[in-house]
Amino acid sequence: MSPVERVEASLVLLYAASSLLVLFLLIPLVSLYLRLSPEAMARVFGSPVLASQVRDALATSLAASVASTLLLLVLGVPLAYVLARREFPGKGLVEAVVDLPFVMPHAVAGIMLLTAYGSRGLLGPLLQRAGLRIEDSFLGVVAVMAFVSAPLLVDTVKAGIASIDPMVEAVARTLGAGPVRAFLDVTLPMAWRHVAAGALLAWARGLSEVGALLVVAYYPKTLNILILEYLQVYGLPYAVAVSAAYAALAAAVFIALRRLLPP
C-alpha cells in the first residue's frame, strides 16, 4: 500500500468512526418522532386534565430553570471573575467545590441538598425560621437546578474572563473607572458571549434535571418528572407525546446556544 493509499484508508476509518457516533446520537431523536402516535398526542393534549398537567409542569420547569439561571448569574458571575482574576490561598479548593456537582451522581446531589438545606438538615431550622422550605416546593426545584448547573455557568464565564487581556481593565482603572465600573464597562461587554453561553448551558442543564428532583422536590412536578410518571402510569406512547414536545424545545435551545457560543 502506498503512503497516499494508507492516508486514504485511515481517512475512511476516521469517517466511519465519526459517522457511527453521530448516528448513535441522532437515531434516538429520529425514533422519538417516529414513535410519536397522533392518537396518544390527541389523548394527552386533548384531555383537559392531562393537558393542564403538562402545561403546569412545563411552567414549573421553565420558571424554576429561569429563576435558577438568574440566581446563578447574580452570584456566579462575580465568583467567575474572582476565580479568573485573583490568586488567593485555597483557590484550588474553591474551584473543586464549584465543580463538585459535575461529578456527583444526581441522586447523591439530591441527598446532599436534603442533608444541608432540608427541614431536618444542617441549615434546615435556620431556613424554616425564615419561612423557607426546599422539600416539595418551588424553592426546592430552583435550589436543585442551581446546584447541578452552577459549574456550567461559573466555568464558562471564568474561561471568558480569563481570555481577556487584564491590561484592558487595568487601563480602564487608570482612566478613572472604579473596579465595578471597569467590570461593567469593559470586562462584561467583552465577556458577554461567554456569559450568555454559560447562562444558556446552565438553563438547559437545570431544565434537564430529574434525579435530584426526585429526592428533594417531586412536587411541584417539572416536565421531566411528569414524563417519568406518564411512562409508569400510562405507558410509552403518552411519555413519547410529551417527550417529543419537550425535545423540540430542547432543540430550539441548542440551536440558540450554537449561535451564541464564541467561535
Binding site: A170, V171, R173, T174
Partner: protein
C-alpha cells in the same frame, strides 16, 4: 513631580527595590533594562495596579501609595495597547473624559483635537480590530493623553511595531512631548528609543535601579555595553560589506 521612595515589592521569589527615583514635571524618563528585572512591576506599582509592601509613591506632592488607580491621575499605554474592542476609536479616546464627567460638547472637541494631533481623526468611527499596529498605538496614546495625566506610563509601547512604524512613532512621541510637555516614564529594551526620547535614562537590573543619568552619561556607563555591542556588530557588518 513623581517620586518613588524606598519602594519594596515582593512577588513570588522576586523583589523589586527602588531606593529613590524622581521624575521632574515635564521630564521624559526612559527606563532600560533586560527582561524580567521588574520594569513592568515598577510601572504597575506607580499606576496603583500592584500594591508594594513598603515605600512611598508621591505624585505631585501627594502620597499616592494607597490610592486606587482611578485616583492617581496617571495614564497607561501597555505593550498590548489594551484598546476596548467593543468601542469605536472615538469612544475609546473619550472614555476617560466621560468618567470625569466632561460635558459631551467639550468631550467631542477634545477628542477631535487629540485625534488631529496624532493623525487619527479619520479613524474615529472605526473599531480597534480594523486598525494596523501603528494606528492602534496612536489610539492608545490619544486615549491616555486626552485626560492630561500627571504622568504618562508607557510600557514598551513600540515593541510590537515594524521598523518603519517604530521610526514614525518615535518621531511622533518626541513631537507630542515637545508640544504637550507631559511627564513620562517609558519602559523599553531599545537604546535608540532611550537616546532619541529621553531627558533622563534609568537602568534597572535584578529588581534594583543601577543608574539614573543623562542619555550621554548612560553611554559612558558599563550598563550601556550590551546595547552598544549590537551597534558595533552592525557597524562591523557594514565595514565588511564595504571592504
Amino acid at each position: 513631580m513623581i517620586a518613588v521612595e524606598g519602594l519594596e515589592l515582593r512577588l513570588g521569589g522576586f523583589t523589586l527595590r527602588i531606593d529613590r527615583l524622581v521624575i521632574e514635571r515635564g521630564e521624559y524618563l526612559v527606563l532600560l533594562g533586560p527582561s524580567g528585572v521588574g520594569k513592568t512591576l515598577l510601572v504597575l506599582s506607580i499606576a496603583g495596579l500592584m500594591r508594594p509592601q513598603r515605600g512611598r509613591i508621591l505624585i505631585d506632592g501627594v502620597d499616592a501609595t494607597r490610592l486606587p488607580p482611578e485616583r492617581r491621575g496617571v495614564a497607561l499605554v501597555p505593550q498590548s495597547y489594551a484598546l476596548f474592542p467593543h468601542m469605536s476609536v472615538r469612544d475609546n479616546i473619550a472614555y476617560g473624559l466621560r468618567l470625569r464627567g466632561v460635558p459631551e460638547r467639550e468631550r467631542r472637541e477634545r477628542v477631535r483635537r487629540i485625534a488631529e494631533l496624532l493623525g487619527i481623526a479619520h479613524l474615529l468611527d472605526r473599531r480597534p480590530s480594523t486598525l494596523s499596529g501603528g494606528e492602534q498605538q496612536r489610539v492608545a496614546l490619544a486615549r491616555a493623553l486626552v485626560v492630561k495625566p500627571r504622568l504618562l506610563l508607557l510600557d514598551e509601547p513600540l515593541s510590537s511595531l515594524d521598523p518603519a512604524s517604530r521610526a514614525n512613532a518615535l518621531q511622533l512621541l518626541k513631537k507630542l512631548h515637545g508640544e504637550l510637555g507631559f511627564t513620562a516614564l517609558h519602559v523599553t529594551h531599545s537604546l535608540a528609543e532611550a537616546l532619541y526620547l529621553a531627558d533622563k535614562v534609568a537602568y534597572m537590573e535584578g529588581g534594583v535601579l543601577r543608574c539614573v543619568c543623562t542619555p550621554r552619561g548612560f553611554l559612558e556607563t558599563r550598563y550601556a555595553r550590551p546595547y552598544l555591542e549590537e551597534h558595533r556588530l552592525v557597524e562591523e557588518a557594514l565595514r565588511e560589506d564595504g571592504g
